[in-house]
């Protein structure tokens, strides 16, 4: 079902775990067809926010609309159009790559799973690996398999939690190039949580900066760099992490 408004709309979203506030009343909207970064240090609330967007985690307060649907009430209308990948979630190691993809093709009710798997295997250079046990693959190969799983249902919204964590620079670059191409060719929206500044700077048209559960700034990477009077997004990140505004930042 086409949706003309923002792909994601979040209002007053909060998550409390007993005495800890992981996400503290954040509000934002993400337009369709672009890669948006969710940037923040460890414990900033990125993974918690993504979990709530996926419905894996129920918010303590606030509303989430994805494709205009209330995620708390109509999660199962949204999930067939969304997918997710994270280095903190594995695919079963004893299953071959093809078997894992077949299982997830079934979960997403794909009608011709063999064709789609062959297509993705070609695009992600997995054809030679389809018969290998997933547990026997290198980190880079596993990341590509996880990406294939995340693209099985041709998601209109892809949520990626640190997609290049623990990858060597060559593999990380390959993944970033693939994501850029996927977004460009399919007009899919990607929300990318990362604390890799170079990655966010390269891929994202818009960046949400998170700190201690709040969105503390937002803008295009170049706009943020200019606003803080810095040369890189990493410098901006450090200013925010250390509570320095642009006029008081260290040279």
């Amino acid at each position: 079902m086409p949706h003309s408004g923002p792909v994601i709309e979040v209002n007053g979203l909060a998550k409390h775990f007993k005495t800890v506030t992981a996400v503290d009343g954040v509000s934002f909207a993400i337009p369709g067809g672009q890669i948006t970064g969710l940037l923040g240090g460890n414990g900033a609330g990125k993974t918690t926010t993504i979990s709530m967007l996926l419905g894996l985690l129920v918010p303590s307060a606030g509303q989430i609309r994805v494709f205009g649907e209330d995620m708390l009430r109509h999660r199962y209308r949204v999930l067939p159009r969304v997918n997710f990948s994270s280095p903190y979630v594995d695919l079963p190691h004893r299953l071959t790559v093809r078997e894992n993809l077949m299982v997830f093709a079934g979960l997403y009710s794909l009608r011709r799973p063999g064709e789609r798997i062959a297509e993705l295997a070609g695009a992600l250079e997995l054809t030679e690996l389809l018969s290998r046990k997933t547990g026997s693959l290198s980190s880079g190969q596993k990341t590509r398999v996880a990406l294939a799983k995340a693209l099985l249902n041709r998601p209109e919204l892809l949520l990626l939690d640190e997609p290049t964590a623990s990858l060597d620079p060559d593999t990380a670059d390959w993944v970033r190039t693939y994501l850029e191409r996927y977004a460009r060719e399919t007009h899919a929206s990607i929300l990318l949580a990362s604390h890799n500044m170079a990655e966010v700077e390269r891929l994202c048209a818009d960046v949400l900066m998170m700190k201690t559960g709040k969105i503390v700034d937002r803008g295009a990477p170049t706009a943020l760099i200019a606003r803080y009077g810095r040369r890189t997004l990493e410098d901006v990140f450090l200013d925010i992490a250390r509570d320095r505004r642009s006029n008081e930042a260290a040279p």
């Binding site: 209308r77 997710f84 078997e99």
Partner: protein, 271 residues
């Protein structure tokens, strides 16, 4: 791709979970052997006990392979429950849980898949032991005929009810609850009269025993073996109690799932 609920898609998702465990079994013969190991061992031990007691007691002699039948039925119950919890644990051990539930897999569909896996695993576990009892001890549980189907249906339902409770606990408390998930079903063994009539228990415990559907099965089996009578009344009451427990367990499972979503335990299924 459908965005609403469709039965065909729902069945595909249940089928995908079955396929996942089928692939796993195909890739790991030790897992399949593990399903059969304890039922085989139990059948052999109780087969010899039965043989010995038959030589000492005319009651046991008249009962034929009573203890072998009891242990095979008991294992159908135990393997049924294990079949559910083991299937869930496999997802937790492989850190695959979040992947499943960011797909459009509904908790109720997952519960249905677990129930189907419970049947498959219990039959893979117990049927070889039942077949081996024929040449080893000249005892065939299949001679019970159609009542065996009724006994199995009752035990499978109880296995589902206990299995769903244990799955809810595992989802809610993570792998910290693993030991209890294995041990819980054995709490029923002394109460539901697997190897002795319920009348053996003290009066107050008999009242408890009759609230457990397996009690009806084991009493029914003794009636069939000793008197040649099929107690349909026992089966009807057992199924009625089972439906009550199953409804309660499903509600607890869905509640446990909801609580896990509130606490973030679908993403972190460790300890």
């Amino acid at each position: 791709m459908s965005s609403g609920f469709a039965l065909g898609d729902s069945l595909r998702r249940v089928g995908a979970i079955l396929l996942r465990h089928g692939y796993l079994a195909r890739s790991s013969w030790i897992r399949v052997f593990d399903l059969m190991y304890w039922p085989l061992l139990q059948m052999i031990i109780w087969g010899f006990i039965n043989t010995f007691l038959a030589s000492q007691s005319s009651w046991v002699l008249r009962a034929g392979g009573l203890f072998i039948g009891a242990v095979l039925l008991w294992d159908l119950l135990v393997r049924g429950q294990f079949g559910m919890t083991l299937s869930l644990l496999e997802e937790m051990w492989s850190r695959n849980f979040a992947n499943l539930f960011v797909a459009p897999l509904r908790p109720a569909e997952y519960a249905v898949a677990l129930m189907a896996l419970s049947i498959i695993r219990s039959l893979i576990g117990v049927v070889p032991a039942a077949l081996l009892a024929i040449p080893l001890f000249a005892y065939s549980i299949f001679e019970m005929g159609l009542p065996l189907v009724a006994f199995y249906a009752v035990l499978a339902m109880t296995g589902w009810a206990v299995g769903l409770l244990m799955c809810a606990m595992l989802i809610r408390f993570g792998l910290a609850a693993e030991s209890f998930a294995w041990a819980s079903i054995f709490l029923l063994a002394p109460i539901c009269g697997v190897y002795y009539p319920v009348a053996t228990l003290p009066g107050w415990l008999q009242a408890v025993a009759w609230t457990l559907p397996p009690t009806h099965v084991f009493e029914g089996m003794r009636a069939l073996v000793m008197d040649g009578t099929f107690r349909g009344d026992l089966m009807v009451s057992a199924i009625a109690i089972n439906l009550l427990y199953l409804g309660g367990s499903l509600a607890v499972f869905l509640f446990g799932f909801r609580r896990a979503r509130e606490r973030g335990q679908l993403l972190q299924t460790g300890e």
